[in-house]
Symmetry: C2
Subunit: 321 residues, 2 copies
Amino acid sequence: MSAIGSKELLGGFRRIKGFVNETPILTCSTLNRMFDTNLYFKCENFQKVGAFKFRGAMNAVLSLEERCVDLSKGLATHSSGNHAAALAHASALRGYKAFIVMPRNAPETKQRAVKGYGAEIILCEPTLQAREETLAAVVREHGSQIVHPFNDYDVIIGQSTAFFETILYGLDKGVRFDKVLVPVGGGGFLSGTSLSAHFFSEGTQVIACEPSGADDAYQSFKNKRFIPSKDPKTIGDGLLTSLGDKTFEIMMEYVDDVCTVEEESIVEAMRLIWERMKIIVEPSSAVPLAAILEGKVHVKGKHIAIMVSGGNLDLTRLPWL
Amino acid sequence: MSAIGSKELLGGFRRIKGFVNETPILTCSTLNRMFDTNLYFKCENFQKVGAFKFRGAMNAVLSLEERCVDLSKGLATHSSGNHAAALAHASALRGYKAFIVMPRNAPETKQRAVKGYGAEIILCEPTLQAREETLAAVVREHGSQIVHPFNDYDVIIGQSTAFFETILYGLDKGVRFDKVLVPVGGGGFLSGTSLSAHFFSEGTQVIACEPSGADDAYQSFKNKRFIPSKDPKTIGDGLLTSLGDKTFEIMMEYVDDVCTVEEESIVEAMRLIWERMKIIVEPSSAVPLAAILEGKVHVKGKHIAIMVSGGNLDLTRLPWL
């Protein structure tokens, strides 16, 4: 893992500062009492485009610029979710065109958001193969630069800054985090968080939290080899993706444990966060609290950072209705 | 209005500091762009018990203590909403018993919350007369001290601290607020806010925002005499109450204008806040943004503080479903 060291992480922090929101860290006395612990929620649901993904996309765009890569032909990716909006917005902020390949069945609201950032949407069939082929065609036609949603060191460095900000908060308040809990899908948020923990937060265990219906990180971690999910299913729609080779490698080196949770716990945890903290988080973001609810992570008397990934969801389709 | 001056307000701030949450002030670049303005949301939905009401109840309990009033027989009020939980929690924190008269049809969740703070609930018929008679009976039997939800100077002083914190934030950031928008029901939040504005915030207009279906403050303000609502109806269930004599008097002295909004605008504003800011606010809290949506308040290029009253509502009954 010579690719990313402490200087690269700090470089990313400096690079995107001023472009990203320094999101608040919220605590909740009711939840702390409930679990006899001290939880610190890093609220990336308040990030631009409503998710941590903006950090990675912004760092990728600015890093490509710094390396004098020609971006005059625009940037491109395929995504049905938060990375689409993130790359669209980051590109627009630097005056570049963005081409976003989205599956035909992507929610209307997500398509509107991406268009709202001025990106061009190219619809395709909702299969990974169709998405990759369409993206390749876009690149052939336009000569755009691809930014992968997670399996990319620039993106990972961008994602590392959320926990880095949390560490700075801890230094200011005199709090040392015993553990940091992160939801894992493709592994970009997990990789970035574990790198920040490794280089800047002594004694902090990194725990990845994953829905059992999409448990490729868990299987890969336990078997020490990359095992992609087959037909994953979970309400945590941001976590359906399997790891990439780069995020797998970082996980094996810097993550202390991976735990899985059931769907009912995710819904219960999400509702607890909405009701008690009065913040809107997407199901994926509730996975770490679900792990605490299930007793999978010991938190009693400890200081626990919880990485909240985002707050984008359809407000007419709540999972408890 | 010799009852409350700048020293009384600062005394209240000092008194309840350490008991209340210093709630965050959030901004939203999307909403600012949408209305070409600068909005600062003072998030009392993150206050203890999920509403600003805790400030007033806490100040009332501590002020009664300071004045050596005998509280050994407990505190009492009638309320179906946030004041019930607020007084229950404030009393418990100081070791006093609380008796809360609630209408039989008060939501199960609200009753559970009040019980959760250790208070005793006395159920009655859902009429104002039954509530007042039952409360009087409780006081006769137990000798408890009544704390009115809004028509009480101690309560009003407590509510003033939310905008006072906002003013301190403005001093720190170099922001002078051109206007502060406050929802109005019984007028406690409005009175406290207008007093803080009058004594501590030069050039800040205070605008009360009210649902047109419960427009007693609007009618009273325009006609310069107290006109209570008859059969009020609004989704902003915290705003059904009419003003009291104390809050009416303060409004006439310190409030610059009152505007009314339609129900559809309240729902639209509430959804905008949920979707764009990722915070959960109750319908009453969306009334100020509804006034902006309707063009009732001019905000272009200005700095506008918005007092968010709370975030308590039934998450299974959202108004856009």
